[in-house]
């Protein structure tokens, strides 16, 4: 697929996500997708496979937050297989604390499927508001 088609796919995915609908995102993940939370903090690791991304990472995040969490994209940059998305979180923890992180997400797309994700975010805010990622859920570091 072209860079323009890949960009369109991510725009469509985030049009859903900004309304709380993650179905196109999940449907677009390749079976063997990898998602790396970059850095050296407690959340930093590589989640391997769709189930790990959806259940072990996003499922855990969802368990900490109130319903209605949103991720609002504000810029898409695409070249070849790569699409970069800058986004702002609009979320509230179950304890009632705001969690509005800044994200730079890099997606590699092959034949209409997301094969690789790299997430850069404000780890200071993540650790302070969401707390450390549970050691029992950790996978191999990547």
């Amino acid at each position: 697929m072209s860079a323009a088609a890949n960009k369109k796919l991510m725009e469509n995915i985030f049009a859903g996500i900004r309304e709380g609908d993650r179905s196109l995102f999940i449907a677009s993940l390749a079976d063997d997708v990898t998602m790396t939370v970059t850095g050296q903090y407690s959340w930093s690791q590589t989640f391997r496979g769709r189930e790990a991304v959806v259940r072990d990472l996003y499922g855990y995040v969802r368990s900490l937050l109130k319903e209605g969490r949103r991720t609002l994209p504000f810029r898409f940059i695409a070249e070849d297989d790569w699409v970069v998305v800058e986004a702002r979180g609009n979320m509230m923890t179950k304890a009632g604390e705001r969690y509005d992180n800044h994200y730079c997400l890099i997606y590699r797309i092959e034949d209409g499927k997301i094969r690789e994700i790299r997430e850069y975010q404000d780890s200071t805010l993540c650790e302070r508001v969401l707390g450390p990622f549970p050691a029992a859920r950790k996978q191999a570091t990547g």
């Binding site: 850095g39 903090y41 940059i77 695409a78 790569w82 730079c104 890099i106 850069y120 200071t124």
Partner: protein
């Protein structure tokens, strides 16, 4: 300028930074350039203009880092006037602690010059290793000239 031309400019800047040479970067800054460290670290804010960049970001960074600062580009992704650079730092503090952060830099160019640099990185590592920028300058000023 085209995405390819902008990418070439940014590649040149980062090839030099990988060799600890910031001269091409400084020569490419627009007068109203701004550098934004995203997030909530002690270093996170907007540094507006070349003078602020040098005095308020680079000076404390140089006070904290042993030798010259090295940043290695990993991948460039360009579209229109924007070039995204995934990069990896390879540095050591003057106290001997490794400071190997990972970066996603979103650069915007205009007429071949850098207008804006948005830096995403592991902000917890920034605070843990670099501490407070004011302390870095104070420590450098108090002990190292003797």
């Amino acid at each position: 300028m085209s995405a390819a031309a902008n990418k070439k400019i940014v590649q040149h800047i980062f090839d030099a930074m990988a060799e600890s040479n910031s001269a091409p970067l400084l020569e490419s800054l627009a007068d109203d350039f701004r550098f934004v460290v995203m997030g909530s670290s002690k270093w996170s804010r907007s540094y507006d203009g070349k003078a602020a960049l040098l005095a308020e970001l680079f000076a404390p960074l140089r006070a904290k880092i042993e030798g010259r600062i090295t940043t290695i580009p990993v991948r460039l992704i360009a579209e229109g006037d924007t070039v995204v650079v995934q990069a990896r730092g390879r540095n050591t503090t003057r106290e001997g602690e490794a400071y190997n952060n990972v970066y996603c830099n979103v650069l915007r160019l205009e007429g071949g010059r850098l207008k804006e640099w948005i830096e995403y990185c592991d902000t917890a590592l920034v605070d843990a290793v670099l501490g407070d920028p004011a302390d870095a300058v104070a420590a450098a000023g108090s002990g190292r000239s003797t």
